[in-house]
Amino acid sequence: MIVKKISFQVNDRKVALEVDVRASLLDILRDSLHLTGVKKGCSVGECGACTVLIDGEPYDSCIYLAVWADGKDINTIEGEYKEGKLSKVQQAFVDEGAVQCGFCTPGFIMSTTAMAQSGRKFTPAEIKRELSGHMCRCTGYQNIIKAAQKALED
């Protein structure tokens, strides 16, 4: 087993870890840091359930080696709830009933958060495109798109 020492930030907290080079970022977020809001779905970068923000951009953490996280700034769903308050994106998902079984929700929220943080305006077509790397098997897409639109209004 080959291990490498890496340090990075997760949800504004500095972390130093020895990681197995075989591990994915998803593996260490869930198993070493217990951030189980990051969901393991397909494991091959198709469903988007494991999406986290790396330096502000969405990535599938299942196909991102843990060693690549060295020096990065990572955000997961656990960092969105601050001082007893849901983020604007989270609140919009609640208000629009965009959560059914909830398994895809953290991923959708992280991609929507990346859009919100970019400060850009998005057309409805662009919102769909930016969320197209996520699958909701309850097929609650209509309300998810509505929630994203609401979260991106100013």
Partner: protein
């Protein structure tokens, strides 16, 4: 856990070549969106990986003094799509790379990986073929340049030797200036799908209606991405018309050799070749400044 028995990070292309020389069983990893999935599925076992991710020069996209557009092999699809040089001078390439997977895949997947894995369904390859792109390969004895068309040797097989690294994709000025193009990806879903067929047309227009130059390239129409030289020859120098579109579609079908796979039958792909060639040609004509008479 991925089945990785050794992992090295190269700090420079030189170092990557040295590591390849020292490890005959090693393979390069850039974005990993193909390789890690092959490992997950057990198609690659006991992988010895050399990562190219820590080499900044491979991520550069820029225009050289002579007008050549140089795209580092490690540039991600997202970076290529949003880069001002690509948006301004080769919008058809921006369009093609925007069709890859979904946003998360475009953030990690690299154009170099998309070419070196040698698949016919690569969304970037057909457009690079139509743009007569050149590839710069660096090896122990120096660099060599290969036309992207010659790089493809067969399904999953490319002209990349074990001790070589694809460093840059080059598009010279005479291959993009004045051209308009259009890429169509036909798939069952609009995102997160592999092309059933990919089709790109690029053309240059004279006097608003004469096709001064024309190139048609296809993915999944043969074992490797391909150009359609007979169709191109038939169209060049002609005045644009609906009849010419029909002729282009009919000729393209005679040049391809698609297979039946679980995604689609050969017959369906032949129909797509004919139809999408016409559609891509028409839109490329408009994008190149052509006017219908």
């Amino acid at each position: 856990m991925y089945d990785i028995v050794n992992y090295e990070e190269a700090r420079s292309v030189r170092e990557a070549i040295e590591l390849l020389r020292a490890n005959p069983g090693a393979r390069l990893i850039a974005g990993g969106s193909d390789l890690l999935i092959k490992m997950y599925n057990g198609k690659i076992t006991e992988a010895e990986l050399i990562s190219l991710r820590g080499i900044p020069s491979l991520k550069e996209i820029k225009m050289e003094a002579d007008g050549t557009i140089r795209i580092g092999s490690g540039a991600t699809f997202s970076r290529i799509f949003s880069h001002p040089v690509i948006q301004e001078h080769v919008p058809v390439l921006a369009e093609a790379v925007s069709k890859v997977g979904g946003p998360q895949i475009r953030n990690i997947g690299t154009i170099g990986g998309n070419i070196c894995n040698g698949v016919t369904s690569s969304d970037s390859a057909s457009t690079l073929l139509a743009l007569n792109a050149g590839l710069r390969l660096e090896g122990p004895d120096g660099t060599r340049l290969v036309d992207v068309q010659d790089f493809y040797l067969g399904p999953g097989k490319v002209d990349l030797r074990h001790e070589e690294v694809l460093t840059d994709i080059l598009i010279t000025r005479e291959n993009y200036q004045g051209f308009g193009g259009h890429y169509i990806k036909f798939a069952m879903r609009n995102a997160m799908d592999i092309a059933t067929l990919g089709c790109v047309a690029v053309c240059k227009i004279k006097d608003q209606k004469v096709i001064a130059d024309f190139r048609l390239a296809l993915g999944v129409a043969a074992p490797t991405p391909m150009r359609c030289p007979r169709t191109e020859e038939a169209v060049r120098g002609r005045v644009f018309s609906e009849e010419l579109l029909l002729e282009a579609g009919r000729t393209a079908v005679t040049e391809v050799n698609p297979r039946t796979s679980w995604r689609a039958t050969r017959e369906f792909r032949l129909q797509l070749v004919e139809e999408l060639s016409k559609r891509a040609f028409r839109q490329a004509f408009i994008n190149a400044g052509g006017v219908f008479s």
